[in-house]
């Protein structure tokens, strides 16, 4: 084996330059790829009545969901189900600006309920999610709250974002410190 080939290979694989390049590439990928990942700027549930996990003593007559963006009234689905996953009879959603309301027909009995929504913001993205509330002294809401947009749960997206940001910062640090070192040694 020719010695200079080995040493070049070692420097390439083992040296910090390799890690630097990988990180720069990873950061570049994330910078390029992230704008394509939706859900950063798109509609989210801003507030809800009844609120997620609310324990109500009297049955609500309506559910109103307010998002942080205008809704497309044509494409708004809001469903209330009971603990047996039976749909509670309710009106078609009335949409006004960023809020959608369904009126519940008949009184809800004591128990746990799930509110689920699938709405489309005016730029065409679908947001769906669900949360629970209880009426009377039913133990706990049946379904853990969740919201998704573009298929990935918000938590995962935030996770990806955080890792990406971290990588970018490390890469940036290494890149600039590398340059400084190079300039110093020149």
């Amino acid at each position: 084996m020719r010695p200079e080939a080995t040493s070049r290979r070692n420097r390439w694989l083992g040296g910090p330059r390799w890690i630097q390049r990988l990180l720069v590439a990873a950061a570049a990928f994330l910078v390029v790829a992230l704008p394509g990942v939706p859900a950063w700027a798109h509609a989210q549930l801003a507030s809800a009545v009844p609120a997620p996990d609310a324990a109500l003593s009297t049955a609500p007559a309506a559910v109103t969901l307010t998002f942080n963006e205008q809704l497309n009234p044509e494409f708004t689905t809001i469903v209330v189900s009971d603990a047996g996953r039976q749909r509670v009879p309710a009106s078609a959603p009335a949409v006004s600006g960023a809020a959608g309301t369904v009126r519940i027909e008949g009184a809800l009995g004591e128990g746990a309920y799930t509110v689920a929504y699938r709405v489309v913001s005016t730029d065409g993205h679908t947001i769906q999610g669900s949360y629970g509330f209880t009426v009377g002294d039913a133990a706990r809401p049946p379904v853990a709250a969740g919201e998704s947009s573009g298929g990935l749960p918000v938590g995962v997206l935030i996770g990806i974002g955080a890792v990406g940001l971290g990588l970018a910062m490390v890469a940036g640090y290494l890149y600039f410190s590398g340059r400084r070192r190079q300039r110093g040694s020149a």
Binding site: P38, T77, R87, R118, V120, G124, T126, G150
Partner: protein, 391 residues
């Protein structure tokens, strides 16, 4: 598919003097694509494949769509009459019968382009205006206006339609040119729309094609014996609707995969309904996810377009178009949506009305052209298309 209209291989059947004994056409009945390669004597089977022109029903409807198409619509002059129209149809039928079997049309100035028909079909459609010119009551009427329509005159209407399809774009170009030349004394070209689908040999013949929006398009189409009750009238006639649907690709491409899937109601990769796992699973509109939402979004294209009655289905035969992008690089792309059905008012209009009322896909597709035609029965050798109407 009709047994009458089996595929023949060009060289052997038409006696062109080309190498005899061309191989079986792969697209015919599920042969493996490997057999497309070449026929004995060096004539590729794809090029010499023939779809029979004569028959009780016109060709170009029930067969698997070839890869390329030109839809050519004409406007009749105010002076058009029944006798002149019959003369025109005799001439065009003769051209089409020759060209589809790989022979030059009479007076063909580019006869060298004729011998590779590549499954060429020429399908004639008669618009409402043709019937009026002939003093007859039109069996088809223009579509009602839909609120999603942004129709442009340059893609709409027409008295006569020629749908020219083949697996080769040069064959389509030559056929279009010859037919337009012979129609010129009788009618003016109103619009031409050229489109394409996947080429033969790209994937298995029964594989659903993808359209320019990346979707598997054609999954729920009637196939085989299901075509008859939806498409063909007793007398061998049918109808065609041609809608030019612009796709807002720039906006579409801003969506995530899940957004795109919600708009259609099917998975982008497999084409499976969101309520199932396989492409051909029946969509289950009653299925709820864990939170109580319907698995098939109630505003998705498939939910809204769904037709279950076998007699009311549409046979969709769309072609993609992809024109010249503008200076900003935005594509000019979409579908030349063509559908065949017995009765436009009973079958097509209710579906289009439901989609116009609500369909999330509308955010990214816009009808910019629209035309309807009756497709008269086919004809026997020696006969002509339209003889039952104009004869």
């Amino acid at each position: 598919m009709t047994s009458r209209r089996h595929l023949l291989t060009g060289a052997a059947a038409a006696g062109l003097g080309a190498a005899a004994g061309a191989g079986v056409v792969a697209a015919a009945h599920g042969d493996s694509p490997a057999r497309v390669a070449a026929a004995p004597g060096g004539q590729p089977a794809l090029g010499t494949a023939i779809v029979a022109f004569h028959g009780a029903r016109q060709a170009g409807v029930a067969e698997d769509p070839p890869a390329h198409a030109a839809f050519v619509a004409f406007t009749l002059p105010a002076t058009a009459d029944r006798r002149g129209l019959a003369r025109m149809m005799r001439l065009l039928t003769d051209d089409a019968a020759r060209l589809t079997r790989g022979e030059p049309a009479l007076g063909d100035t580019d006869a060298t382009l004729a011998p590779l028909p590549a499954r060429l079909t020429v399908t004639f459609g008669f618009g409402p205006g043709l019937y009026r010119a002939a003093g007859l009551r039109p069996p088809v009427a223009d579509l009602p206006a839909f609120r999603i329509d942004r129709l442009e005159q340059r893609w709409s209407g027409g008295d006569l339609l020629l749908q020219v399809c083949a697996d080769d774009p040069l064959t389509v170009a030559h056929t279009q040119r010859m037919l337009i030349k012979d129609t010129r004394p009788f009618a003016a070209v109103r619009w031409v729309q050229q489109g394409f689908r996947r080429s033969p040999g790209i994937h298995a013949p029964d594989h659903t094609q993808r359209n320019v929006m990346g979707q598997l398009d054609g999954t729920a189409n009637p196939r085989g014996a299901e075509i008859d009750p939806a498409v063909w009238n007793e007398d061998g006639s049918t109808t065609i609707v041609v809608r030019r649907m612009r796709a807002e690709i720039e906006k579409w491409d801003m969506l995530s995969v899940a957004d795109k899937e919600n708009a259609v109601g099917r998975r982008l990769d497999t084409g499976a309904p969101l309520s199932g796992t396989q492409e051909h699973d029946e969509p289950d509109f009653t299925k709820l996810d864990d939170s109580g939402l319907p698995a098939m979004p109630d505003f998705s294209h498939v939910t809204r377009a769904r037709v279950t009655d076998p007699a009311l289905k549409l046979l969709r035969r769309p072609y993609n178009y992809d024109g010249v992008p503008n200076a900003a690089g935005h594509p000019d792309a979409g579908l030349i949506f063509a559908s065949f059905q017995k009765d436009i008012a009973r079958q097509f209009v209710p579906v289009q009305q439901r989609l116009a009322d609500k369909d999330l896909l509308n955010e990214w597709i816009t009808p910019i052209g629209s035309a309807v035609f009756a497709v008269p029965p086919g004809c026997a050798e020696g006969g002509w298309i339209g003889e039952q109407v104009l004869g």
